[in-house]
Symmetry: C2
Subunit: 141 residues, 2 copies
DNA sequence: ACATCTGTAACTAAACTTGTTACAGTTATG
DNA sequence: CATAACTGTAACAAGTTTAGTTACAGATGT
């Protein structure tokens, strides 16, 4: 279980909130659908809250709802809110700077990394939470 | 050190092999440039070998060289050869099938995953090992 | 025969994600 | 105002992954 599934979980959670409209949903309910612990959900909601995607209320009859209309939330925003960010990682240790390849490879890979991340972001921004919800409610993909 | 940097390492390694042309390179030499252990390099070369990107020779004066011309090796092939594959992971546990969202979200995310992976592959196939080598040798990015 | 490589198994250490318990702080309600 | 019902968050355990290491079998040139 070491693969990062936060984006998947985030889309799931936000789809539920989108479906519920103005109504506030409890972390326990969401956890039931995602099939995990409520604290895991609250941790995730914390990140989504920081990204201004949801609004939570504490106290009795508290819960969480979307901060914006599902039509205005793109998957790119969700990805950005929860991801560690990079499709692939650069070297852990720095390459040997005395080697002509080692000396320049980092800059090349860093630029490539940015470009790939940008490409992923652009693709994800083609989808909104609304579009995801529509597919889910139609039951066909 | 848990972020997957195999793609970065693979590009580095293959760039070195590309620069050396027909000459066979020892894993020890490559390890010196990447700044890691020779066994790590040999493990990586094993994957690149399975993908028909390199050819290794055992025994004294053995080593590894590219299996093809750098112009014919795209970064997409390299990515495919070493990556675990996915930009984001699906849920670890299955969502609650009794929930209308939980029931359908997996299929939606799975399709999305495939599409993102395809997008990354297409972007990476725009670059060849040759093009990477040219940037490295010019020293500017 | 021997030195020099690759290939690979086995083990360790570090990092990360998830799950879980525990508890402080907030809010609605009788 | 007391209590029940929430969220927010810290702290810790467990499982997984990656990288680094050591060790050694097998291949090959001299």
């Amino acid at each position: 279980m070491a693969a990062n599934s936060q984006f998947s979980m985030a889309v799931h959670v936000l789809a539920m909130l989108a479906k519920s409209g103005e109504e506030r949903i409890k972390s326990e309910s969401v956890a039931g659908s995602v099939n995990t612990n409520a604290v895991v959900i609250r941790r995730l909601l914390g990140q989504l809250n920081q990204a201004n995607l949801v609004i939570s209320q504490t106290g009795s009859s508290g819960g969480t709802r979307l901060a914006r209309c599902p039509k205005e939330i793109t998957l790119a925003e969700i990805y950005k809110a929860v991801s560690c960010g990079e499709v692939f990682a650069l070297h852990g240790k720095s390459p040997n700077q005395d080697c002509p390849v080692g000396k320049n490879i980092e800059a090349v890979l860093c630029n490539l990394q940015k470009e790939i991340d940008k490409t992923v972001g652009e693709k994800l921004s083609q989808y909104t939470l609304q579009s995801v919800l529509e597919v889910i409610e139609q039951g066909r993909v």
